[in-house]
Symmetry: D2
Subunit: 338 residues, 4 copies
């Protein structure tokens, strides 16, 4: 940690900060620049505590951490890629995984039909929401346990693993019974109780990025899960909020190589929620694979115009089928398989 003192800091201000830091058990070194003094703190173990202790002291202008705040999620401390095995498939490997299905589970018949179709197209996992976090209290909120049961049936029929969102810590044990992967949605990336709860269960977690979360905060949320003992976390970029209005969110494609540089955790991309428009999903899916993503999560619906949620962003089965063929070529072009 580096502490920059302001131009107007007095000798006693500097001395006070130095003493406070040493009181906390750290060694310091002082630099007298031409206009400002800088205090170097060595071997910080409790970064937050140190920051709180000095940031409002007289004369302190700025604090600059040298080490990153995430540890277990960091490649600095864990150089090899994490590879997660789920239901016989691996995420984080050379092979790219595709999670597909409708936004919400709406009926058994419908869901089983779409499950067979996405399997035939080559998808590796089924998605589907039984609990939907909706911004309006007047919108369809999901079928609940009934939805989970339908997904379990679809797994039985197709052999594909199930990825489904859990929106409340209370529901974690219930979802655990049915799902192969816990999905933590964008709106819950900062729901730390929920993160800790899934961190205590022995089941992989797909952590979506919050709507306006920095990559650093996202990795800190992964850290919450990891630090509770669950090492099987993968990340899902789904677009961030900007001023642009032709797409629902702005897909931060750079997050893929940035995560790959900072962390050993796998990262996938959700082009459906990122764009909010099926017209743009295929282009973004191909871009994600080309950028190095370990997988995709794509919404597919038999009849998007009858979907109870997010119909506009769902692909029709034939479009998805064609996309899968195109993705195979892109995967091959970047040395991966699908």
């Amino acid at each position: 940690m580096i502490i920059t003192m302001s131009v107007s800091a007095e000798r006693k201000d500097i001395q006070n900060v130095k003493s406070k830091v040493e009181e906390l058990g750290y060694a310091t070194k002082l630099f007298q620049g031409e206009r400002k003094t800088v205090i170097h703190v060595i071997g910080v173990t409790e970064r937050e505590k140190l920051m709180k202790a000095v940031e409002s002291m007289p004369g302190v202008e700025n604090l600059v951490p040298i080490l990153r705040p995430f540890k277990m999620a960091s490649r600095e401390f864990h150089p090899e890629n994490t590879v997660i095995s789920i239901n016989g498939k691996k995420i984080g490997n050379k092979e790219i995984v595709v999670i597909a299905g409708p936004c919400a589970v709406e009926s058994e018949e419908n869901y089983l039909e779409i499950a067979e179709l996405v399997k035939a197209a080559g998808a590796n996992f089924l998605r589907g929401g039984a609990f939907k976090p909706r911004s309006s209290p007047y919108s369809f909120q999901g079928l609940g346990e009934k939805g989970l049961e339908i997904m379990a049936k679809a797994r039985e029929k197709t052999g594909l693993g199930i990825v489904t969102e859990v929106v409340s810590e209370v529901d974690v044990p219930l979802v655990f019974k049915y799902a192969d992967v816990f999905q933590i949605g964008a709106r819950n990336m900062h729901n730390f109780h929920l993160l800790k709860t899934v961190g205590r269960f022995n089941k992989p977690v797909m952590l979506k990025r919050g709507m306006s979360a920095t990559i650093e905060e996202w990795l800190m949320s992964a850290e919450y899960i990891l630090s509770e003992g669950n090492p099987n976390v993968f990340l899902c970029e789904r677009g961030i909020r900007t001023f642009e209005r032709y797409t629902r969110n702005t897909l931060d494609i750079s997050a893929v190589p940035v995560i790959d540089n900072l962390s050993h955790l796998p990262v996938i991309v959700d082009p459906s929620h990122a764009s909010g428009d099926s017209k743009y999903v295929c282009a973004l899916a191909k871009a994600a694979i080309a950028a190095g993503a370990d997988g995709l999560m794509v919404e597919v619906h038999i009849d998007p115009s009858r979907a109870l949620s997010d119909g506009k962003q769902s692909l029709k089965p034939d479009v998805f089928m064609e996309l899968m063929q195109d993705l195979k070529k892109v995967a091959q072009a970047v040395g991966r398989t699908l």
Copy 2:
């Protein structure tokens, strides 16, 4: 609801959309513009359902809602201001309320001392966190029930009501026992289960704006609470996330008059979290009152450099005392009291 068809929409596309809308029970009128056809839907009661039904049909370019999505929170349906009575004080009235105290409750001695000080300065409510949502799992997470007990003691001594955050639906009944106002923090503005839970309790709720929430989404979150039967909701603007880096967030001061125009719910401002820097808190507090806010939430700490959380943004007691005097003058200048 207005449905715009694209330039290339064919006659049968238009007919299909018209039929689908009428199937849902709404009357339609068609406009043939010079290049595009527009379909007007009358008397929409289930907006989301209608949108999902048509947005992905062939030829549909765009949907424009005519009514706002929030109803119970809207001034269109409830023209008079909501005034909330809490512990003998009113929010939403001519009188401005000030909620003050440290970010987190750290120790009994400390908290009681600061409680007496902010009361002496003229504050109306005490703030303090017993459950802290922290972005790092390695940060101080709050004292839990012990913290609530300390706040209750402070209320006993000072007579000031208690505003404290609840971060998990599981804790709602516990916090209900101690608090006068449930605080829903920015990170939980989209935690719909938590919103519904506090909506079922008979206790005022202060709803902070999510870090990147639009005003419309914020009012939709209020709608979640209102629609469960709890009418006593007030809003707290605490800054939104932008690219600017000299402040932690960007205080959206315009939210004050915008909310006043759109909704009957009271709105207050938190200049401490918005700026993240005590140097800027007083200027922003005065601006908030001048803009028409119904109150303020300000962090005050006896010794900010010893605070376990957010010390940098806390005011010292003497600065707060002076601020309260300044605020009285600004309140008077805009026809309010404090």
Copy 3:
């Protein structure tokens, strides 16, 4: 254009708006919804004038345009792709173009060397700045005409066309003499005098997206150039400003398919300025091609650590050489050539 009247609009407010619109020569139709009245205006030719005329009239709540504001740039009015021929190469075609070179022209020797290298790697155009718009007055501002002369020499030696930025309308005739493509930089996307000036010259223009410009504004800036008579405009996405800090900007990869949907103009991507970090350039370049971009602009420098500007984001020649090989494979995977 659709005019929504507020719930509280009175009969005479509606009548006044109707009369004002008709005075401007447009036919109107009224809809009486259940709570609000909507006025439909037919065949709007002067949109801005109409908006100004009615937007502040009593009772007016909102105006919704039905047609897009850009005309000459719109695919609605010009369905086929624009293909631009420059120095024997075509942009907007099946073949992908690559513009490469250093950020700034620094010395003749250096520039000629890098020009030969990027040609050998397969680039189609040379980039290089003679006039640099720098946010600090204390930074290197470019060699001016001397830089243009060096670029002309490099063209002579390599046969590659020259893309270079013009930052002032005064310099347009000078840059015209040397360049094959005028580059309008992000900071000048809203410099309308400059746009009009290059619109009057018979030379292709590469228009970069402004740092916080919406896609609609970007296309309106293209419209400025097109409406002066120059049809040879192509767009360059270079990242937008968001809250994320691990990359200098956020590459809006979705802009590629969105532009392709809205406009007939070619669009290329600049992964170097978007990320600001050579570690991420190759992943983003591949993503751009996979998303359907018509080309790339990539910074390459012989010795990035000696560059006078933007060294951190420049690729070394051997990395660029390898990237070109990788890009060929991705191009082929999406049915393009390079």
Copy 4:
């Protein structure tokens, strides 16, 4: 400047960076932390050059400047407030200045009438655009020199100084002849040629903040003007671009105290462009004064519904008159006069 080396940096990487820095003439000190090495560079005079030289060297992770990039605009080097005298009025003093008038000059009769009215209400300067930067080429672009002549007549009649925008370096001498203050608009904050040109004239400059400019970049643009020899610069906050849609921009009210802390230059606020809606202008104007702004720029129009540009955000004369009375009270409440 502090250079952080990555965890994986080797001894020779560190040595190379050290040598490169010393080659540039600076002394260095090394810190060996527990995981990372930090190189401290002393007395940096050419910051950009140093950054370019080392940022892409092997093993370099991050560079942290210790001094701010702006010098002449910084309070660190110029502690007292700058006070600018214009046409007998002072900006940056205890007295708050108000600049008022229509967005564009539309006709002589109209302009003279509004000039008399805003003078009667107590405004100190007249605003009005003769050259309008419009995002659509099909919008009204201003009257040009004819508009400047009308403004000069209004000054003659009212005695109020004239603030008007210059959008092209070519027009600077022309605008110089008529105006009392050069306005640099948001879209030109990064037009460095224009900044340098007005920096060479002996006339005050009002520099608006770019739509997505950070405060640091804004001060760097002021630095461009100051470094050319013109010390009379004041800043105008006019809202930044965010995701919020109920206001045209988001007024960054915090910019007022932040600028006051970082710089000696006066800062005013433009609530009209910030909100884009006359409903919100008065609340924001009062907030600006309460936050410590040195002045306001407010749009006033005799008949906003007939304005050729930005009618929706213009106040009617009677509303402006009332606002001026309210502002006097707020000014007094914060120890200023108006």
